[in-house]
Each structure stands twice: as structure tokens, then as C-alpha cells.
Symmetry: D2
Subunit: 341 residues, 4 copies
């Protein structure tokens, strides 16, 4: 941490900062320029994180040079984390395609979707049983009945299943049916849930919050790893900006940046990011080229009758065409579909 003092800060103001640092158990290193004095702070990460000197007399700015995360960092672990569930892998070159409907609506819908996406080459099956909806008047999901349908469909076609934990009280229940536990964008900083998932033995798929920075996403993942669970998949799903043509703005620069910063697998969700069916295919292609380790794509047998996110859902035929198109692109990145046998 650096404490940048105001121009010509007084000797007392400088000494005051130094005293507070010593009181907290950190070391101060002074660089005095003619106009500015800068105080370098050295000490334990935990100590440094409790110090906050912005606003002290004579202090102009505090610059944090230590990152707020450690375990997720590529400095901490150089080689890619590879996660394998139910015969499917992600990371280290294995590319995951997680496909399925926004919400689980019926056995017919889930079975039809599962068979279709499996046939097209998907490596995991998704579906929501608990749906976070802005309005309390919108469809809220089927709950446990949905979880059972999802599990049955995954088993029928031999794909591991991914679904969202919306309520920390349901985490154990969901873990009884799902192979990977998803944390939605609105819960990315639900730290109690992250703590809970950190103690469980299921991989976590952590979606970036609508206005979360890259550093905040990594810090959220750090909560899970700190709890002991090393298997986290990060998902860029669009951020909220001023642009309204697309539902959100897919930040593919974040995908590439995350691949430098962390050893965890990083995927993209072009369906939620764009909110428009016509952009799902080009954004899938761009995600692969940006270095993503996987994709999450909404597929529905009848998008126009979907109870959620119909406008961005692909038909099975669209999805099949997209998978054919993606094949050579994944190979061009020296990756391969992370499917079983």
C-alpha cells in the first residue's frame, strides 16, 4: 500500500500516518520529494486490509498494490486448474459447452432438450429450478420437482448437470441433484453463500455480477477457495452499461484478462449477455477466439413458448449448427471438447 500525501503535507500529518501504521503493526517507508512525500506500507495482507487512510489529514490518495486475492491468482498456481465431473472436463485445454433451457418447465421439455444438446455435442446440461426474477409476478421456477427432472434428463443422456443455488438454505438440497452449483450474477457478492459453497465438495460456477469488476469477481472466487473448495469456474455473462440494444455488454476483454490473472477456468454466456438470438452465434465464436474455456448457451425446444428468456434461446437445430461451426474454432485454439470417452 502506498499513502500519497498532499503537496507540501506537514511534518505532523506525515508523522501521524506513520504512528497509525506502527500502532497497527505495519512498517512505513518514506520517500520524500520536494513537493510530495509518499509512504510505502509493508506488512501482512490481513493487516494491510484493515487499514484505510483515505481522508486522514494531509493524505491525498491511498494506492493499494497488493491484490485482494491470492489463492485464485496465477502467481500462486501457474498451471491451469482442470475440473472433471461425470466424465466431462473443463480447463487445461478441455472446452465445455453447457447447454439447456433457462428454466426447467416439464419432463418433456427437459428430455427433448437433453437429447438434442447431447446429440449436438454439448458436454454438460443446464436448467434452472429456482429463477431469480426482477418482478415477483414472473415465473419463479419449479423448485425441487425441477431438480429431479434435470437430474433424470442428465442421467438419461449421460451428461453432468449444472443448476443455480438461489438460496443458501437450499445448497445441500441442490447438491443432492446437481454436479456443479451455479451462483448467479445477482448473488456474486452474497458472501455467506460463497462461504457455504467453499465448504462443499461440488464445483462452483460463479457468474460475474452485472456491475462487478474483474478484481471483485476474483475476490468472490477467493471466498470459495479460502473455504477449501478449489474448483471454481468463472463466467463472464455481460455487464451493465449505457447501451440498450443488447441486454448487457459482453466483456470479452475480461475473459482474456482473467486467463492471464487466474488459473481457474473461464467461460462466457453469450445468451444472457446479448439477450438476442441473432447475436448468440457470433458472440460464441468471439468467446472461443478470446480464449474462453467454455460456453453456456440457452437452448429450448420451443423458444416462443419458453417461460423465461425465450428471445435469446436457440432451437435445437440452431444449436446443432452452431456446434458444427465451433468445432474447427475450438481446435484452432489447441483445445478440444471436454466430453467423456
Amino acid at each position: 500500500m502506498l499513502v500519497v500525501m498532499r503537496d507540501h503535507a506537514s511534518a505532523e500529518d506525515i508523522q501521524h500516518v506513520v504512528d497509525l501504521l506502527q500502532e497497527a503493526g505495519a512498517e512505513a517507508h518514506l520517500s520524500r520529494g520536494e513537493v510530495k512525500t509518499i509512504i510505502g506500507v509493508i506488512g501482512d495482507r490481513e493487516v494491510i486490509y484493515t487499514l484505510d487512510f483515505e481522508g486522514l489529514p494531509g493524505v491525498e490518495r491511498v494506492v493499494r498494490v497488493l491484490k485482494p486475492f491470492k489463492l485464485v491468482s496465477r502467481d500462486f498456481q501457474r498451471e491451469d486448474t482442470v475440473i472433471t465431473v461425470g466424465g466431462s472436463s473443463i480447463g487445461g485445454g478441455a472446452f465445455a459447452v453447457i447447454a439447456g433451457p433457462c428454466s426447467i418447465e416439464s419432463e418433456e421439455q427437459m428430455m427433448a432438450t437433453a437429447h438434442a444438446v447431447k446429440a449436438a455435442g454439448a458436454t454438460m446440461l443446464r436448467g434452472g429450478a429456482y429463477k431469480p426474477r426482477s418482478s415477483p409476478y414472473a415465473f419463479q421456477g419449479m423448485g425441487v420437482e425441477g431438480l429431479k427432472l434435470l437430474r433424470a434428463a442428465g442421467d438419461a443422456v449421460g451428461l453432468p448437470v449444472v443448476t443455480e443455488v438461489l438460496d443458501v438454505r437450499d445448497a445441500e438440497t441442490v447438491a443432492g441433484y446437481a454436479d456443479i452449483l451455479q451462483v448467479g450474477a445477482r448473488n456474486m457478492q452474497n458472501f455467506m453463500m460463497l462461504d457455504e459453497l467453499g465448504t462443499m465438495d461440488r464445483p462452483v460456477l460463479l457468474k460475474r455480477g452485472l456491475s462487478a469488476t474483474i478484481e471483485e469477481l476474483l475476490s468472490a472466487a477467493e471466498y470459495v477457495l479460502k473455504g477449501g473448495n478449489r474448483d471454481v469456474i468463472l463466467c463472464e455473462r455481460g455487464i451493465r452499461t449505457f447501451e440498450t440494444y443488447t441486454r448487457n455488454t459482453l466483456d470479452l476483454g475480461a475473459v482474456s484478462a482473467l486467463k492471464w490473472l487466474t488459473h481457474l477456468p473461464v467461460i462466457a454466456d453469450p445468451s444472457h449477455a446479448s439477450g438476442r438470438r441473432d447475436l448468440v452465434a457470433p458472440m460464441s465464436r468471439a468467446s472461443v477466439a478470446a480464449g474462453a474455456d467454455g460456453l453456456m448457451i440457452e437452448v429450448h425446444p420451443e423458444p416462443e413458448r419458453a417461460r423465461c428468456d425465450g428471445p435469446q434461446s436457440l432451437t435445437p437445430a440452431d444449436f446443432s449448427a452452431l456446434m458444427a461451426d465451433l468445432g474447427p474454432r475450438i481446435a484452432l485454439e489447441d483445445k478440444w471438447l471436454g466430453a467423456g470417452e
Copy 2:
């Protein structure tokens, strides 16, 4: 809902939309221009909210004209909601000043703060026992011990207390100590928590999410009211924008807009919005003038030793001066401090 068809949409595409509407139990009213056909949709709110025709063949755009909330609307209830707890009121002219430290740290700190803010004219006491922190390495709060200290301090000076529920599993516990349950910005769309609080008999202080629209904030409040709990206080606490000089951007236009749109009390939190002590006073003044029904202000006996948000905390002396300054301003708005006698 209006379905705007593309220029020269085909008769089949139009009929297809009409058929889907009828299948769902809604009525279609067609307006045919030379270039564009627009389909007006009439039906129950619940039905309309399950329909999503963006992306259908021939559809250019869907415009929702019904708001996603009802109970919170001023159309539904014209007169202001007034909430009274422990002798303090907010709404309908009663102005609340909720003051106290970011985090509860010790008995001395809480007692000193409680006496100071009471003496200066605060109408409620705040303090965090569970702290949402971006980094798992930062101070996370004292938990139940903190709740006890807060309750004791409030009782000692005769002020009702407000504190955050960070985990839905703690809601009952927190309600055992607090008069008002706060939902933090990061949990504004934690719908399971909103559902839970909707069944409880404690007023809820709901903070706007960092990237939540005004409409989403009202929809989140609708969850609580729909559950039966009519006492919700809305809090503007700054939104996330590109500007980095202030921690967030206080959106006072939202305060004024909310006063038109809803009967619920609306307060502002200039401490979190600006993240800078030097802006707390001017932003407090501006919030009063914008029509807020109250303020939430961080006060700490020794901001430079605070374990959280020190840079934006006022000293008791600063707070006392601010309260003196705000008095005539509150009166100018035909409001009064909502304190018991």
C-alpha cells in the same frame, strides 16, 4: 404490452403472434400502419409477465407499458406510508436521521457513538454486525456479539436500531435485536431474502443495488409488500458509474423520481455514495432539498481507527455541526425530525 412488428412484416408473422397471445389467454388489438403493424396486448399482469415475444419472426421490439410492480406504486396508495418504531417515525413529513458506525467494534465505541448521535439529534442508531466485504481477508464483523452491543447502546439512549441482515438464515436472530432490518445493496435482488422479510413483522430498509434501476428497486420492494410486510424504506446509496473520484455516484434524481412513483419513504446515504468525508455534508444538504425523507450517516468516535469505512465517517463533532446545519433545511421542506419527545 405492445409488440412492434418490423417494417412490412408478413401476414403470417403477425398472425403467429396473435395465435400465441390467444393460446396464453391474452387479447390482441392490431393497429396497422402503412409500414408498421403494432399489436396491443391486454390481459392479466401475471399472464403478461410470462410472455416474451422479442426475437419472434417479424417482431422488432416489445414495449412493456404495465409496470412490474403494483403495491408500492403511488397509483395504488396515494398517501405517504409512515413507519414508526421505538418512538421514531419516518415518512409523511417525519424526517429520519440514522447515524452510527459502519461496523460495531466494541462496547465503548457503540456507547460513545450512541450518546453522541442522540445528543446531536439523530432519530435512529445504526451499526453493522455482519459486514459484506469484497475481500475475504477484510474484517467481517462481530456477529451476534455485535447485535447485543447495538441493542444495548440503542436502549441506553432511547433510539431504535437498524442493522443489516447479511444471511437469510440469520433473519430471525437479527430481528431479535433490531427494530429495522437492513438489506444491503449487494442483496437487493436476493429474492429469497426479500420473500423471507416479507413474512416478518419488522420494517425493512432496502438499499438500491449498485447497478439497479429505479424500476428494479421498486420491484424488489414489491417482493416484500407482496409477502404481507407493508413497511419498507427505500435507500439511494450511490450507483456505479465510470466516475472514480467519488466511490459511487449519488443519484438524487432517483430520490425525487421515487417520491413521485411510490408512497414508501425514501432516504439517502451520502456516506457510502461519496466515500469521502468532505462530501458528506454537502450531499446531506442536497438530499434534503431533493425531497428525501431521511439520511443514513456514518459516525465514528475515531474514524482513523475504524475497521471499516473510516475515510467517509464523520466524527461526533462533525456530525453535530451537520445536524445544526440541517435543522432549518428540513423545516424549509415542511418536514420535522421524526424523533419521539
Copy 3:
């Protein structure tokens, strides 16, 4: 400037930065921690601003501690700048109310508006002769004919006039009719125009760009002052965010922050910021309380027939009521209407 090296950066990488600094004529001061080395850079502002070491081998981050502006800073000039034109003043306690229509449309419209706003207490008259419109199919303004109508209306009622320079080639022409030259939000970083206005003897009203930071606004003003023209008025007019209920988000924290950072007068434009008539009055009140030195308010005799910005324009009656309401609020800030007697 501080150059923060990566953890355990090599001696060569550090030496390389030091060599480049010496080559450029700047001094390097090294602080070596166990993990991190930080290089403090000392030298002329002009030299420092040509250096950019982000991306060099071993460099993690560059932190600029010198601000990119000087003449506009309160460190450079402590006392408020006061600007007086045609008997009206702004700054140092003098509060300006600049009122008039978005666009000049006819002699009748301008004369009616001028008389009405003068009678209500406005201190300056505004009106646009050249209109920046997103679409080439929208009304683009009356040009020189409009300037003549504005000048005549101002003279008739004894108010100085403010109008926008849209094209640098028209600057001299506009200066022939106007007392204050406005630079619109879209031209805030039109540096050639700023350079030109810096050589002229007319005060400049500089609007903040839709996505300009506070620092960029001050740097834009620095261009004008550097050219020799010391009379610049800064105007917060709303920034672009994700919120769509209001046209833009009025950033009153920026108004307060600017009052700390610069000696130049700072005004707010609640009409453009909100885009809604019902928010103009509360946002005007809030701007006064936030410390603004003036307001810019759109007034039109018949808003529903306005060729531009009708929805946010006040009627003369609305404006008169607002001025009556603002009087005691301006006094409460120890300010006074900066009108001639």
C-alpha cells in the same frame, strides 16, 4: 508518478525503467520492499506527461500523483473566480440563473421568454442558434438569424446572453452577438475549439461531457486558461449511466467536489440532466444545496410546441414559482442573485 513493479521484478527490468527515466530527463527514487519495488519519478510536469511505462517488462502499474491540470486548481488560486458580464455576476457568492429556450425559434418566442424570465429574476438569458442533434433529420437551429433574435431579446430586457458555439469556424461570429460562449457536452473534448476560445475575450461556459470524469472536465478547462482566457464556468449537466428513467444522471457529488478542486464557478443544468419537467424543480433545489454557483434552466412559452426539449422545459409560470422557491435557499447558502441593480 510512481512505477509499481511486479512482485519479484528482476534487477534488469528495474534498471531498464531507471535508464528510460534518465534518458527522458527525470529522476528515479527507488523503494525496495521484500516483494515489491516501487520507483518514484520526479521531474517537470511536461516531461512526466510524455512518459508512459505501463506495459514495460516487469511493470505492474503506473500511478500518476500529479494532476493533469494546474491553472484551474484551487492550489494555484485560492479565492473564487468571479465573472461579470453585462451587469450580471457569477462566483464568489453571486448566484446565476441562466434561463431561456433550448432553441431560438422566432422573435415572438424569444421576446416573450426574455420578458418572462427577467421578471421572474433570471440573471442571464440563454437560447440555442446552432443545435447539436443526434439525428440529421431533427431541427438544427436558426443560425445567425437566431443569434440576432437572442441579442435583441437580451438587450430589450437588459440581460447578458449565453449561446453555444457548435463549430469553431463560427466562434468569432457568435462572439459578435453573445456575452458568454457555451461549449456543449459533445464538444467538451474538442480541443481545437478549446484552444480557439482560450485566445478570445469572452467567458466560456463549459459543459461536462456525457462520459467525462471530473478530472477530464478540469483538464478541458485548463486548455482554455492555458490559452490566456481565465473566465470559465463549469457546468454539470448529467452523465450517462445505465439508468433510463431520467435522460442522464445529475452528478451533484461532482458539483461539490469541483468546488473543492477549483476556483472556477460551477453550475448545474437540471433540465438536460433529468429530461423531465417534474424533476427540474427538486433538482434545482438540490443543486443550490450542493453548493452550485448557478443554474441553467430551460423555459419556453409553449413547451408542447417547442422544436427541441419541450418535455423538460418549464412554462414561464412554473419558472416564476421556482424562482420564488429558490430565493431563501440561495440566501441560506450565503449567496445572492448575481444580477445588476
Copy 4:
């Protein structure tokens, strides 16, 4: 245009809107629901664009269904616009790579860069003679001397040259040296410059403003086409968001969306968008996959001594490696480098 009336709007309020429409020469079509009345408006684009009924008594919302542009639309011209200058093409499958330094600094620098990028396969040469800089203390470019060096370097290696027009007064001068005239992000809504370039016979490379929507970018291009100049290249160069890890956020969804909406060529500028050398290659790959018709990439023989944008500039060796990598990717999109033989 649709005028959505408030719930239970009065008959007078509805009639008032209808009267204003008739007065303006537009037609009103009423749809009366039980709760809401909606008024469809039919008339000339020019007429409709002067009407603005937001804020009228009883009006809840105005929805514009006509786009504010026409000539740039794919509805107006189905086939891709192809632009050819100096033997290089862009559009209709021809892919452009526009490479060179941020600023022109010397003859040696330009010649070295020109030879290097030509050898690597670039199809056009770029370089800035007039630099828009946030601070007046930063390097502002070499001016006409720079233009001459750029022209000479382009001629020496047989590449057309692209450079920015910063001041409308210099447009003719710049056109004397350059093949394509660039409009920078800060000038995207400098409508007077767009008007001027609309009358000239040089293609225009129009960069998206930092906070411009897709629709505003297309409307800006419409200004140029309306003036008679049909050759406009659109450039996505990153938008301003809350994320600070990258300088801006590259919006590749906009690239794909623009390809649906317009017949004009669309390119991406990964250098400015990311501001980081390590992201230029992955973002270039992603841009190709998203459907871009070209790339604009900063190359400097000695990035660490560049007077502008060094941190994001590639070395000639980096650029050469990137071009080799992009070759098969461009072919995969059924495109080819648009270079002369």
C-alpha cells in the same frame, strides 16, 4: 411513434395530443384499452422528429418506432458497401488491417513502421499528426509535417494512409495527404465536421464515441451519407464503463449488431479498447470471429519510447506474429486480406 397515455387518462388529455398531432400534420390512430389508451402516430420522418410529447398532461411515455437513420440501414441497401482506396479494399469480404503508430514522431519512425507492417501484411498505414489529448501538457502531434511523413511512408511501401481530422478547418489540408479521413471518438458527434466530410470525396473512418449508443453511431454516419459521401467505415474502439482493468470495454456485440443493421464496413480497434499490449492479440482474434471487416492496430518500432500510447503498441515482431495467426482466422470467416496484388 407511439404515445402511451397514463392509466385512465382523461378524454381532454387524449384529445389534446390528437390536436397537437393534427396541427403538426401527422395522423393519430387510437387504441383504447380498459386502462390504457395508446396513440399511434403516422407521418413523415422529418415531421415525427420534431414532435416530442413526453411530459404533456396525461402522457406516460413516448415510444419511437422509426429509427433516426435511413441511408446507412441494411433495409435501405441490402448488399455490403465495399470501399477501395489506393489498391486496398474493405467490405464485402475484403478484410482491412490498418496498422501504424499512435502518433507520427519522425521520418525514421514512420519509414521503419511502414516497411514492417507492409511486410507483415497490413493493408493500410495509420499515424496521427494531430493528437487529441486530455491534458494540454501532453504531446499534441507534429501537424502538417507529420502528414507529409505519413504520405511519404505510405507511398514508399505502397499502402494507402489513414489519419485523423481533429479540426474541421484542417479537413481540406488533411485530405491533401490522406486517403481516408478518420473522425476520432471525441468528435463522433461533432456534427459540423460530419457535415463537412459529407461533402468531400474521401472515405471517412468514424470511431464510436466513448459513451455513444449503436443507434447514435449510425445516426452520426447518416450525417455523412446525407451529405452525399457514401463511403463510411464504422469503428468500435471500446466504450466507457465502470471497469478499470482495461482502459475501455471492447463491445464486440456492437460489431455483430452493426453487421445486421448496416451495409457499411465495421472494424474494431483492440489497441485503444484495451490499452494493454497483452490483450491486443486475443481481442484481434475475437474481433475477426465476431464478424469485423477489419482491424486497426497500433505498431511502434520502440513502444517504450513512443510519445503516445506506448503501453498498447505492438512491436513489429509482435505484429508480424499476430498477422500470421490471423490469416487462417480471416479465411475461416470467408474473408480475405483486402490488399492490392
